[in-house]
């Protein structure tokens, strides 16, 4: 992954912790890259336990939500567990308005997410 990648991935035990490099996930080209990097975690690297830490994220469009949904579906298909964490209240509201808080597994903190994986 190049230095201009959309994600920062670190490993703890068998778990991949993924952080977003962009505070605002709105640019269409960046969202496309974000999707490719996320999908590669499952389809290329075969990661089975993934935490998506939203600490850095201040805004995201519905196009970004679409990539996250596709990522979740790919995870289910490949048997990878995905948990979202550290979602700011305004971002969490976006998930709850669209009922996506029912689709994704969401924990308050990264530690909470790691504890159940």
């Amino acid at each position: 992954m190049g230095s201009d990648s959309r994600l920062s991935v670190s490993e703890s035990a068998e778990i991949s912790v993924v952080r977003f490099n962009d505070q605002k996930i709105i640019d269409p080209a960046a969202i496309e890259e974000l999707g490719l990097e996320l999908f590669a975690l499952i389809e290329k690297d075969g990661r089975k336990k993934i935490v998506l830490n939203f600490q850095n994220v201040e805004f995201l469009s519905s196009a970004a939500l679409g990539k996250l949904i596709t990522f979740e579906k790919k995870g289910k298909k490949e048997g990878s567990a995905i948990i979202l964490s550290n979602i700011a209240p305004e971002i969490f509201q976006v998930f709850s308005i669209t009922n996506l808080d029912k689709l994704f597994k969401i924990k308050d903190t990264e530690a909470d997410a790691l504890a159940v994986l």
């Binding site: 709105i26 805004f59 519905s62 679409g66 669209t98 689709l103």
Partner: protein, 158 residues
């Protein structure tokens, strides 16, 4: 490609009204400067907690016009007209597409649609705005948001 600009404070019937108008090419990278200008204008007028929702409504409505309305055609434009005041934000977005019927947009919140990658923009717009209307042609969306009363925004001088 055409682009026009007008920002004129102190114009119109309401004192302090700011008008921002743009004609945007149908590219998904064409409108972020406009959104930032609107958010900056609202911030200057004292808006705060509503900015996230207004950002979302603008992002989703303009990108809908470009993507689904104009199908990113080089020959079509999206016209955006905003009126900002200390109390009210109003915007009209017109595309040159064939229009759509909002009743035919699937409910993104329904269990069977939860994992569909698209179809959430309209729900977000309706949720964050106080009033949303679509013209009969389905190509012109008008939205309005009133500023929330600010808690503790009273004189606290001892």
């Amino acid at each position: 490609m055409s682009s026009e600009e007008r920002a004129s404070p102190e114009e119109g019937p309401e004192a302090g009204l700011v008008t921002i108008e743009r004609t945007l090419p149908s590219r998904l990278d064409s409108y972020h400067d406009l959104i930032q200008e609107v958010l900056d204008g609202l911030t200057a007028l004292g808006w705060s907690s509503e900015l996230f929702g207004i950002h979302m409504a603008l992002e989703e409505s303009i990108s809908n016009g470009i993507r689904h309305g104009n199908k990113e055609s080089d020959y079509k434009v999206v016209r955006v007209e905003c009126r900002l005041s200390a109390e009210t934000f109003w915007v009209r977005i017109r595309d040159e597409g064939e229009g759509y019927d909002p009743d035919e947009v699937p409910d993104c919140k329904a269990a069977e649609n939860l994992d569909a990658p698209g179809g959430r923009g309209l729900e977000l717009i309706r949720s964050y705005m106080d009033a949303v209307s679509l013209s009969e042609s389905g190509t012109c969306m008008t939205m309005e948001k009133r500023r929330n009363p600010v808690a503790g925004d009273s004189d606290d001088d001892d």
